[in-house]
């Protein structure tokens, strides 16, 4: 929470004035029983109707001033809380934008969403209530006690005795139940999980005729939850009866001591009534305080979760640096060179890539193939610096990736990721992600190369056609082609297609490859694929197996000398006997 206090800056005035006005209101409230005592002792005792009316006027005045003070307080606290939450959201959003890929992997998207929405809302409520009530409630409790002392010290001792007892009950019950409720929540999560599971697995569960077993398992979890709820309920239900008993027993004691004090002439009857009134004020406030503390505990937990994200170091340099130019290409250097590169992800024991070395000359097409988990995506993700190599060097046009300004590097490398993602907006807006000032002509050119021109033309509005969230109004294949077009718009020097044509049929896939090859300036292209057919015509094919290079060469060379490549190829083209494969393994 301390970590977040800096976002309160600028709301210092509000966060002081809020509680201050609240205390003002509370002070007026504390005066009410005294006025009432005066009405009884002076007004009623002397039969002075004018005095009673005047005092009634004072009560009204206290009410009005209290209302004004309280509304002012509400305004200041709301302003401070909302302003604080707004800044916090901004800071968190900015932070998430500045995280590196490995940090994002560790965090996960759903975490980011809950932190930014429900957690921050929780913090906002907590701050608002804290400003309003955190001072007020204890102030009334102790204020009532102090006021009791001004009436009569001996009677006030009852307050001194009962307040700690009440606090013990209220906070004792609360401290016991909070962790228990967490267990109840876990039980509820279990019931929820079971429900979700039976829905997502309906086909499989029915195929295995597991319905009755599922029902039994659910009922067991549900019964356990109910037992837990009832158990916790029994204890938390103690709070109200116990506090009620304590307060009213205190009233009883107060009356007994009061009887002696009045008899001895130390206090009046009206003052005794005032003391009883102070006692009931305490109860209300203590319960409020207990609820407030629950809210604040929750808000603090949320605040800590938010702070944990804010505390992450910024791994995405593009957010930090000023716009800077790309380094001069080293003459004669390859477009991409890997020198003994190894990559180990955070928290992973073993390296995902080991001893990767190769060169890709400008304009070459490089195919990357291998089984699932062989490291294909990891390899190409090193080129735009999404992840940093843990060993060795990755050089782009002769300069180490680490020494490139991140923004310039990303402008030079166009990436089409595996998952075809589009954003809410129009087709044109999505394409201009690649290059914000590209003219329409350039967009159409990119669409044509990506084999997407036909269906975009058919869409009403063409480039202005709307794209729904996640591009769900396009088919998988259309989305893939649009994401390819988006990368082509930037006319990158290096283009990476990470298995991004998988939803295309073979013919379209082939046309796409031809069109990219024919681009002006001739980008260096990395083609990642599971399909041997998609990469067999590449200038160079890198065969990955379990994070290591199993072979580099042309299709013909690999077919002749790389057993892993032969196996992959055989598994997809079993009948076609490859010419010139002396030791082709039997499929």
């Amino acid at each position: 929470m301390k970590r977040l206090l800096c976002y309160m800056k600028g709301y210092g005035k509000e966060s002081v004035l809020g509680p201050l006005f609240k205390l003002l209101e509370a002070s007026f409230e504390l005066l009410v029983p005294l006025v009432m005592a005066a009405i009884i002792d002076t007004g009623v005792a002397n039969g002075d109707r004018g005095y009673i009316l005047r005092m009634g006027g004072v009560l009204l005045l206290l009410g009005f001033v209290g209302l004004a003070a309280s509304i002012t307080a509400q305004y200041f606290s709301a302003k401070a809380a909302v302003g604080f939450a707004g800044r916090l959201r901004h800071a968190l959003f900015e932070k998430v934008e500045s995280l590196s890929f490995s940090q994002l992997d560790a965090l996960g998207a759903s975490t980011v969403i809950t932190r930014m929405t429900s957690d921050i809302n929780q913090v906002q409520t907590g701050v608002n209530l804290a400003l309003r009530l955190l001072l007020r409630s204890p102030f009334i409790v102790f204020g009532a006690m102090v006021m009791a002392f001004t009436v009569d010290a001996k009677s006030a001792l009852v307050f001194v005795g009962v307040i700690p007892l009440l606090a013990l009950v209220v906070f004792g019950v609360m401290l016991w139940t909070i962790p228990q409720y967490r267990r109840v929540q876990a039980g509820l999560d279990g019931v929820l999980g079971k429900t979700r599971e039976t829905l997502s697995g309906a086909r499989v569960l029915r195929a295995f005729a597991r319905e009755d077993a599922e029902i039994a398992a659910f009922e067991e979890k549900n019964a356990a939850l109910t037992r837990m709820q009832r158990f916790v309920g029994r204890v938390s239900a103690l709070m109200n009866p116990l506090t009620y008993a304590l307060i009213n027993l205190a009233v009883l004691v107060l009356l007994n001591t009061g009887a002696l004090q009045v008899d001895a002439g130390h206090i009046t009857q009206g003052e005794l009534v005032a003391l009883v009134n102070y006692m009931s004020q305490i109860l209300v406030e203590l319960i409020k305080l207990a609820n407030l503390i629950i809210t604040i505990t929750r808000a603090l937990a949320s605040a800590n979760r938010v702070a944990a994200v804010l505390d992450l170091p910024s791994g995405n340099a593009a957010m930090e640096e000023a716009q800077s130019a790309a380094p001069k290409p080293v003459p004669g250097a390859p477009a991409v060179a890997f020198e003994g590169v190894g990559l180990a992800y955070d928290n992973a024991g073993a390296e995902s890539l080991s001893d990767i070395s190769f060169r890709a000359e400008p304009g070459e097409t490089i195919g990357v193939i291998g089984g699932t988990g062989a490291g294909k995506s990891s390899l190409v993700n090193l080129i735009p610096g999404f992840y940093a190599a843990t060993r060795g060097h990755v050089r782009i046009f002769g300069t180490d990736v680490q020494d490139w300004p991140a923004a310039a590097l990303r402008a030079a490398v166009g990436v089409v990721p595996q998952k075809a993602v589009l954003f809410k907006g129009t087709i044109g807006e999505n394409l201009r992600w690649g290059c914000s000032d590209a003219p329409d002509g350039a967009l159409w050119d990119a669409l044509a190369r990506a084999q997407a021109k036909d269906f975009v033309e058919q869409k009403e509005g063409g480039l202005e056609a709307p794209v729904e969230q996640n591009g769900r109004n396009f088919s998988g294949g259309q989305r893939q082609r649009l994401t390819i077009a988006r990368a082509l718009v930037r006319k990158p020097a290096i283009l990476i297609l990470d298995d991004s044509a998988s939803a295309l049929d073979y013919a379209t896939d082939a046309k796409l490859r031809h069109a990219i090859r024919a681009m002006e300036g001739g980008p260096t292209v990395f083609l990642v694929s599971q399909r041997a057919a998609s990469i067999r015509h590449a200038d160079k094919i890198i065969v990955l197996d379990d994070g290591r290079i199993a072979g580099i060469g042309t299709h013909a060379q690999l077919l002749a000398g790389c057993p892993v490549y032969q196996e992959i190829y055989d598994s997809q083209f079993p009948r076609e006997k490859h010419a010139g494969a002396p030791a082709g393994k039997e499929a």
Binding site: V44, L59, G83, R206, R230, A245
Partner: protein, 584 residues
């Protein structure tokens, strides 16, 4: 009850049905509530009486004070006990009812046709079973007790006040409704503000979701600043909307407190006048003052309770809607159990569509003989998966028949039909549990040796052994740390363990790399020996070994035959196959 329309009344009746098992507890709860209220109201009278015995120096009736004090102690003890028992009753009823409702809802989900499950978002169904059921129990039962105690508190207070002094009571009755008006006025005014706040919040959440889910793309295209700008614009609007909503709604409390103050002042002045006239004692006045304090409270609560009750009924209605959804037509009473399956599957003149307006499968006839391998190919959306839905009887045909070994599947028990098929789907679903439990899903009594044998046959044994706790490794819902390919291997092992007489493989190896696939194919081939199998696959290499290849397009079978004959035909299949060898 006023304010509830016809359907809500119907829902209310259903709700009462779920509460019926607790009828005695409900009665006890009402009794305890009445007792609590009466005792709570009695206490200020005792306090007043005691104060009246303590007038001035020398005028203190110690004997009476002691007597009253003793009575007060008893009242306090009784009140506390009644309060506690009341809470226990209510907890028992509320948690028990929600449990019954959830059990009923879950059991019904297992009986619902897949048509229903496919047509409803799962998150929404889950929220009916969890959140709506909770809202229902808390809102309805807590709301009901609050309403009940609220009403008797108000009535009891009125009765006590009028019996003490009707003039002052009248003052209280006249001033209190003001607080209700104030609260209602503010609530009406703030509704639009809260709506704007939640709309803006929704807009922002949508942006956050889009950004958080695809942050890598955002960074790859250097769009960070751009998005931050859009975010800030919404954030600014949200802050404004929130400030208005929060501030105006937070006026409610001070305003009602102010009205309470008014009541208090009015009672004070009126009471004091009456005391001078001798109509009331000082103790009576103090009693009135404490009534004035607690009289307004139930009013504020009740105004909230009505909305809460409406909301609870709406939630209950959503749960009932789920429970009332028509279940799968039960197995016919004379349904036979499919046993000793040979595996002759015949589809004759089958018509089927998910949406009557868009016909999908029309007049489809296929005959698969014992032990044949039937491959189904065709572009996406051609009806391949639908065919599986029909074979497994996840959906029933609209016209025509499907027969297994000459029995119409509608005359067989679903259980015996479904367990006769071994099914591996592209969607690799695993349940939360250990690896062992997952493999043994179809045969929970399988021995360790059998499980390991099945895992070995599906090439899953090697990676399972590398897991931290081997076969006892707990996997979270839907696989968690396992890769897509590993999950698929487990799904295959799951079927290998049961070895049912017929097989359905829907893109069963789509996530497995081709080398591993090659190895699994051997195991599949062994498994398919003597078993009728239906295979859906993208990779034509998997398909060409099939005895019969069905080429589907738009719900029709456009070509049928084996690999060689279809290639020779030079039709759609040939075109599809040759595109793999695109000579670029």
């Amino acid at each position: 009850m006023k304010g509830f329309d016809q359907t809500q009344r119907g829902t209310l009746r259903r709700v009462l049905g779920y509460i019926r098992p607790y009828a005695w507890l409900v009665a006890l709860s009402l009794l305890l509530a009445a007792l609590t209220v009466a005792l709570t109201l009695y206490f200020p009278i005792l306090t007043g009486d005691a104060i009246d015995c303590i007038l001035a120096p020398g005028q203190v009736d110690f004997a009476s004070v002691a007597k009253i004090a003793a009575r007060m102690a008893v009242v306090v003890a009784l009140t506390s006990l009644a309060q506690w028992l009341l809470s226990l009753c209510n907890n028992h009823i509320a948690y028990g009812t929600v449990r019954g409702l959830r059990d009923a809802a879950f059991a019904h989900i297992e009986r619902l046709p897949l048509k229903y499950l496919d047509a409803h978002a799962h998150g929404e169904l889950v929220s009916r079973v969890i959140a709506d059921a909770d809202q229902f129990s808390e809102g309805l039962l807590m709301g009901f007790t609050q309403l009940f105690t609220g009403v008797i508190t108000i009535l009891g207070t009125l009765a006590f006040m009028f019996s003490l002094n009707w003039q002052i009571a009248l003052v209280v009755v006249l001033v209190t409704p003001v607080s209700l008006f104030v609260a209602a006025f503010i609530a009406k005014r703030t509704y639009a503000m809260f709506k704007l706040q939640s709309e803006t919040r929704g807009e922002q959440t949508a942006l956050i979701e889009e950004m958080a889910g695809n942050q890598k793309v955002v960074q790859a295209f250097g769009q960070e600043r751009n998005l931050l700008g859009r975010f800030d614009e919404i954030n600014e609007r949200l802050s404004k909307a929130s400030l208005r909503a929060i501030f105006f709604s937070s006026i409610t409390n001070p305003a009602t407190r102010f009205v309470n103050g008014l009541v208090y002042a009015a009672v004070g002045v009126a009471g004091a006048f009456s005391a001078i006239a001798g109509g009331i004692t000082v103790g009576g006045l103090s009693c009135f003052l404490s009534y004035a304090n607690q009289y307004t409270k139930p009013f504020n609560e009740i105004s909230g309770v009505v909305t809460e009750l409406q909301n609870a009924l709406a939630c209950a209605a959503r749960v009932f809607e789920l429970i009332d959804a028509p279940a799968e037509t039960p197995d016919a009473p004379d349904a036979q159990t499919l046993s000793d399956v040979r595996g002759d599957v015949t589809l004759s003149h089958v018509d089927f569509s998910y949406d009557p307006a868009r016909p999908l499968i029309e007049n489809l006839s296929v005959a698969a003989k014992h032990g044949q391998r039937v491959a189904i190919v065709g572009p996406t959306g051609c009806g391949k998966t639908t065919l599986i839905n029909l074979l497994m009887r996840f959906y029933d045909v609209d016209g025509g028949t499907i027969q297994v070994d000459g029995h119409d599947v509608r005359k067989l028990t679903r259980k015996s039909l479904r367990t006769s098929y071994g099914m591996v789907l592209q969607d690799t679903w695993l349940k939360a549990g250990t690896i062992r439990e997952n493999i043994a899903m179809g045969r929970p009594d399988a021995t360790q040796e059998e499980i390991v044998a099945a895992a070995k046959a599906s090439h899953a044994d090697a990676f399972i052994r590398r897991l931290p706790e081997g076969y006892d490794t707990y996997i979270t819902e839907d696989g968690g740390m396992l890769s897509q390919g590993q999950k698929q291997l487990l799904c295959i092992a799951r079927v290998m363990l049961c070895l049912p007489p017929m097989l359905i493989l829907d893109e069963a190896t789509s996530s497995i790399d081709t080398r591993t696939e090659l190895k699994i194919q051997e195991a599949f081939a062994r498994m398919m020996q003597g078993r009728t199998s239906f295979i859906v696959a993208h990779r034509l290499s998997t398909i060409r070994e099939a005895d019969v290849i069905l080429v589907m397009k738009d719900g029709h079978i456009i070509e049928q035959g084996n690999h060689e004959t279809l290639l020779a035909q030079g039709g759609f299949y040939a075109e599809l196959y040759n595109s793999q060898f695109d000579p670029s």
